[in-house]
């Protein structure tokens, strides 16, 4: 049994079958990549996992519990964190505050009226956040306004915000989309670093084969809403079905 079990998921948007009978199993402490050409249904699948969309049929089990019908914040509280295609951070806040928010969310749940406590007195939370920031080499930027940082730093910060929650599963939605080669390599290094430092389960949706082959333990190839193959990176590389899906039949 994997930590995430997707069984027989279908999703239609009007006449378009976005997902057709998707089965997927992500094992604990592995990096599972989901690849596929444009319109293969990668993002739809991801949105079904985090509660943004509800599949028409099928089941999505996480850690033994169904996620279907739960709101995104409830699913996060179950242990799924998500990194977005463009870094989603709290731009008006400082770097440290950005990391403190998930610390509070982890401790206090989805809502708590802690209006008469003082942030400066939350030594334990601040220490936790600072340790995380040191981990991603951002401790010296803790008082910076996060919107004024470079995109690479924002990505780093977003990653720190997700990791500080100690998620059981980290979802990454095209973490290198639109990045220059150098930035992509930095992101790969960051992810490798994270993987080396802790036990973590990641599911990456990615376009860039370079990223996928440097990180993934398992790869699922989606095409037209249906998984074609699931295998190790070595076997996927030369797989005829994959070449066909990506390059067209003539190739």
């Amino acid at each position: 049994m994997g930590i995430l079990e997707v069984k027989g998921v279908n999703k239609r948007f009007g006449g378009l079958q976005a997902l057709g009978d998707v089965n997927l199993s992500v094992q604990e402490n592995t990096v599972h990549a989901i690849i596929g050409p444009n319109g293969a249904g990668k993002s739809t699948l991801l949105n079904c996992l985090v509660g943004k969309l509800i599949p028409d049929t099928g089941s999505v089990m996480f850690d033994g519990q169904s996620v279907l019908g739960r709101k995104p914040h409830e699913i996060n509280q179950m242990g799924i964190s998500r990194v977005f295609q463009t870094p989603e951070i709290f731009g008006d806040l400082t770097v440290l505050e950005n990391v403190l928010i998930p610390c509070f969310a982890r401790r206090d749940g989805a809502f708590r009226m802690h209006a008469f406590e003082t942030v400066a007195n939350e030594a334990e939370m601040i220490e936790k956040a600072m340790t995380m920031l040191e981990d991603v080499n951002m401790a010296d930027k803790r008082h910076m306004h996060s919107a004024s940082m470079s995109r690479g730093d924002k990505r780093r910060l977003e990653m720190a915000m997700c990791l500080v929650q100690e998620p059981k599963l980290l979802l990454l939605d095209e973490p290198t989309a639109g990045m220059a080669r150098a930035d992509t390599n930095n992101t790969i290094d960051l992810l490798k670093e994270i993987k080396a430092k802790r036990d973590i389960t990641m599911a990456i949706i990615e376009h860039d084969m370079h990223v996928v082959f440097s990180l993934a333990d398992r790869i699922t190839v989606l095409a037209q809403g249906t998984p074609l193959v699931e295998d190790t990176p070595e076997n996927i590389k030369g797989h005829p079905k994959v070449r066909e899906a990506y390059l067209g039949e003539s190739a």
Binding site: N76, L93, F111, R112, A115, H143
Partner: protein, 405 residues
């Protein structure tokens, strides 16, 4: 101590000193002099400074922190006023139960309106709150006349029951509002030379409550809850995917700011025990938006400054009429005097809105952070002169403080 750091204590102390010494500070000109009309140190206006300060502080908790722009906060102020006056009619003339009831009623009312309005954000939220406030205004104005006494406004009468007090005083007049016997209208006058200073019990009650309200707002700004409210403004998507539910946070902020408005309304009725529907009209809601933006939304001190600024204009500039203008320019030759008076005329007296409007535009265009930003710029200008050369702003970004101020 008490959850504030040294910097916050300094700010609170400054505000406290300004508030308590207001009768002196706002009366810089000798009574009877030409400039005495610019004095703002009379009880009625000082009470309004404090009350609208409270209103704006509360509004800023919603608008400044979460970014939800409510156009209906005057409804809560009005509801607070009505509740307080009813307390004076039914229970006693003591202001404490009246103020407490006005806060409770405003909290319940804002819970209801907030619950519905916060289903939408942005402009739709603003329109929903505006619609609710206008509905409340119309209800108060015409439909609920048994409770609100319609367009006349709710007033005290000689045959009100007042269970814990007297319906009428010994000499047959309506009793006055008091705090355990201390009459709100009682004023101590101090004459020093040509100056006349007025110390009014009602003002000091308002000022102390304003200080408490300011302190509470400060604590909220510095709390984890305050960070969450700023997170709502910054990125709700990220908030949801961080396991937080933005809805109860915004609703809590809405109810807190509604209670502040109710408190302001209750105080207003405590100073002058009557309540009219016009207090709930959309212009009144718009006024608090102006105060907050003019002073600096999202800052602690800004809304108080903005409230003082607007109330000063409303009461002082509106009193400058043509006679006063002729007095000012009388040293000039006749033709020139008339010319200057006719130029200045549209901006003062009944035209004070024009001056305020121009100032508001200037602030929004050149100081988007409000009067507070203006102050910060001036401070920075002086600091820059002292700072060592070679500082490159682009490559040494200014560190922002731990929590916004």
């Amino acid at each position: 101590m008490l959850g504030l750091d040294k910097k916050d204590w300094t700010l609170l102390l400054i505000v406290a000193v300004l508030a308590l010494a207001a009768p002196f500070i706002l009366n810089p000109f000798p009574a009877g002099s030409e400039l005495a009309q610019f004095n703002a140190g009379y009880p009625d206006l000082m009470q309004r400074f404090a009350i609208f300060g409270i209103f704006a502080i509360g509004f800023n908790i919603l608008f400044g922190l979460t970014g939800y722009l409510s156009f209906g906060h005057a409804a809560f102020l009005g509801v607070g006023s009505y509740s307080a006056v009813w307390m004076f009619k039914l229970l006693s003339m003591n202001v404490v139960p009246a103020i407490l009831l006005s806060m409770v009623v405003a909290a319940l009312f804002s819970l209801l309106i907030g619950f519905v309005s916060l289903r939408r954000s942005g402009i739709y939220f603003s329109i929903l709150t505006l619609a609710f406030a206008q509905m409340s205004f119309n209800l108060a104005y015409s439909v609920l006349t048994p409770i609100t006494n319609g367009e006349t406004g709710l007033q005290l009468t000689l045959d009100d029951p007042r269970i814990l007090g007297a319906s009428a005083t010994a000499d047959g007049s309506i009793p006055v509002t008091n705090l355990f016997g201390l009459e709100m209208r009682s004023t101590f006058e101090l004459e020093i030379g040509a100056w006349l200073f007025q110390f009014n019990a009602g003002y000091y009650l308002c000022a102390v409550i304003m200080l408490l309200a300011f302190y509470a707002a400060m604590r909220i700004f510095r709390s984890p809850f305050g960070i969450m409210l700023r997170a709502v403004k910054s990125n709700q998507q990220r908030m949801t995917y961080t396991g937080l539910n933005p809805r109860p946070y915004t609703l809590a902020a809405f109810v807190i700011s509604g209670m502040y408005a109710g408190l302001a309304g209750g105080l207003m009725a405590s100073m002058d025990p009557l309540a009219g529907a016009e207090r709930m009209q959309w212009t009144a809601s718009g006024e608090v938006v102006l105060m907050t933006i003019l002073g600096g939304a999202g800052t602690l001190l800004g809304p108080v400054l903005g409230a003082g600024f607007i109330k000063y204009f409303e009461n002082i500039f509106s009193k400058i009429n043509d006679n006063v203008l002729h007095g000012w320019f009388s040293f000039l030759p006749d033709g020139l005097e008339d010319l200057l008076v006719s130029i200045v005329h549209p901006f003062v007296g009944k035209g004070w809105h024009l001056t305020l409007g121009i100032l508001f535009m200037l602030v929004v265009i050149f100081l988007p952070g409000g009067l507070i930003e203006g102050g910060q710029r001036i401070v920075r200008l002086f600091r820059k002169k002292k700072a060592p050369r070679g500082e490159d702003a682009d490559h040494h970004p200014k560190e922002t403080p731990h929590v916004a101020e």
